[in-house]
Amino acid sequence: MFNILSLLFKYIFIIIIYMFIFSIIRLIYLDIKGMDFVGSGDYAYLKLINRKDSLPFKINEHYSIDEELSLGRRGDNDIVIKDPYVSKNHFQIIEDEESYFLEDLSSANGTYLNGELIGDAVGLKNGDIIKVGNIEFLFVNKG
């Protein structure tokens, strides 16, 4: 009885250990993949507040805003986030005469600006915090 159990379990142990290693490697891989932000300049960008390796999907530390920036789960957005909490088209940021506006694209779970759910398009100022699900971005405007 014990022998059969033991023979069976040794394969299960190896599978579990390798799944463990694999899941850690994958989380670390997602962490490394987003390290591509270069330098600084005179523009506006979003900075991720969360620790990147606490989020189990691909996400970058910084996204620069160039006239327009959209976030959603679907592939044609500027920021694609594969989180079930994020809607297909979640929000967008539009530049208009040097100022930036945040607009929720009627997402299921909403977009929060400094802790408040936004309805219509709102103006953004330096240091604002945009929250979608568990993900928090800091809006930085150097212009």
């Binding site: 023979l7 142990f13 989380l27 390796d53």
Partner: protein, 411 residues
């Protein structure tokens, strides 16, 4: 399947699953002499590991992986130890609980005590003091005087001294500009480190001497502006190694049994050959837990735990352990590179180097890749002080993985 459902929780659940399965298997194996106490401690371990992993995410904003990796290694180790010797397993369990406690203690201590980087002279005095008490109170086991016994406990002071060494070097290089004004200060530092190595040599603790040298070389290589010193350091060890080979019989024995253990199979080469037999016997998937003969390996739950694991759980588990150590060291170096505070950066690099070198020396020794020196495999092998110092080191690494900006705000 995994890649779509993967979340930050996955490794923790896998670890939990592994422990539950291993524990139930061991209970079936030991069912004749199972009592309520053993059952309770086993379940206690699983809960302890799960809860402390969960707590850490809430407490620390730093790295989530190093503690997970360490607890996985620890789980593989304790199951093997318990299978070889249930009594040692229970004692190891106690040490692990204390180890996890010390992990949190050192985490909070290093995080909240300020000015740790100013105490270089205290560290140096402390290190010499630990050597002194080893010589006065030390007992000789397996040819080395590195244990002291206080009450019922055996302690290995050098395990703590190696952490002090990292602190000394980190103090020095984080205030490099200040110390550079003292004449010959890099030579004084080198002299101090070499005196440690010399004292370890006198205790015949060769493995530890190599660890001390390795840590110092790595940190010196990264930070020393005077590159000539790095070359001197490398040159000295080559000369020192050759002299040690001819001057000391116990060094010569290690080299001979490494090159050809089969010739000394009756006597000095016995350990290595038994270890090789055990690894070969296990094959890819191992004999199965409880079905091998780890009692034939001397020190099976101590220095040679890797061979015992390979025999019963297969070389794939062995490769898994090596991969876990690689990940741990990689995370450590990444923490070091990401850290902005110089003192914590050097601590993180030193501790990563420590884990890397220590596991390499013992794994290499057991696999007959390098000469064998008796040190413990961090987190896996049986041994009180070794577990404690590994967990303390891990706690320091955890602090280093957090943003130093946090500290700046509060000062």
């Amino acid at each position: 399947m995994i890649s779509t459902k993967l979340s930050g929780r996955t490794p923790r659940i896998l670890l939990f699953l592994y422990e539950i399965l291993a524990l139930s298997l061991l209970f079936v194996y030991q069912k004749d002499n199972l009592d309520r106490y053993i059952l309770a401690t086993g379940i206690g371990l699983v809960l302890l590991v799960y809860i402390s992993n969960y707590m850490l995410i809430k407490i620390s904003k730093g790295d989530n992986y190093i503690f997970l990796i360490a607890t996985m290694l620890m789980s593989i180790g304790i199951i093997m130890i318990y299978r070889i010797d249930p009594e040692a397993g229970i004692r190891q369990l106690m040490w692990l609980s204390i180890g996890i406690l010390f992990f949190y203690l050192s985490y909070f201590a290093v995080k909240y005590i300020k000015g740790l980087d100013k105490l270089i002279y205290l560290y140096i005095v402390g290190a010499y003091f630990l050597f002194l008490i080893t010589f006065i109170l030390g007992t000789r086991t397996y040819g080395a005087i590195n244990w002291i016994r206080i009450g019922g406990f055996s302690l290995q002071p050098a395990e703590i001294t190696k952490l002090i060494l990292i602190f000394i070097v980190a103090c020095y290089y984080s205030q490099y500009e200040k110390f550079k004004e003292i004449k010959y200060s890099p030579y004084i530092l080198m002299g101090i480190v070499y005196s440690f190595i010399g004292l370890l040599f006198m205790q015949r603790d060769l493995g530890m001497a190599v660890i001390f040298y390795g840590i110092f070389l790595v940190l010196q290589f990264i930070y020393e502006e005077n590159r000539k010193l790095v070359l001197i350091n490398i040159g000295l060890i080559v000369v020192g190694g050759i002299i040690a080979y001819y001057a000391f019989a116990h060094v010569r024995v290690r080299v001979h049994t490494w090159i050809d253990p089969w010739r000394y199979i009756d006597d000095k080469g016995y350990q290595i050959t038994q270890s090789l037999f055990a690894i070969a016997e296990g094959g890819f998937f191992g004999k199965g837990l409880g079905l091998g003969y780890p009692h034939f390996i001397p020190l099976a739950y101590n220095d040679f735990i890797f061979a015992a694991i390979c025999e019963e759980l297969g070389i794939f588990t062995g490769i898994g352990i090596i991969m876990l150590f690689l990940l741990l060291v990689y995370r450590g170096f990444k923490i070091g590179i990401g850290q902005t505070n110089n003192f914590y950066k050097i601590l993180a690099l030193g501790i990563s180097a420590l884990f890397g070198i220590q596991s390499f020396i013992i794994l290499g020794g057991v696999l007959k890749v390098i000469p064998l020196t008796g040190i413990t495999l961090p987190f896996v092998a049986y041994g009180g002080t070794s577990i404690l110092s590994s967990f303390i080191a891990l706690g320091i690494l955890q602090v280093a993985s957090e943003d130093a900006e946090w500290r700046m705000d509060h000062e």
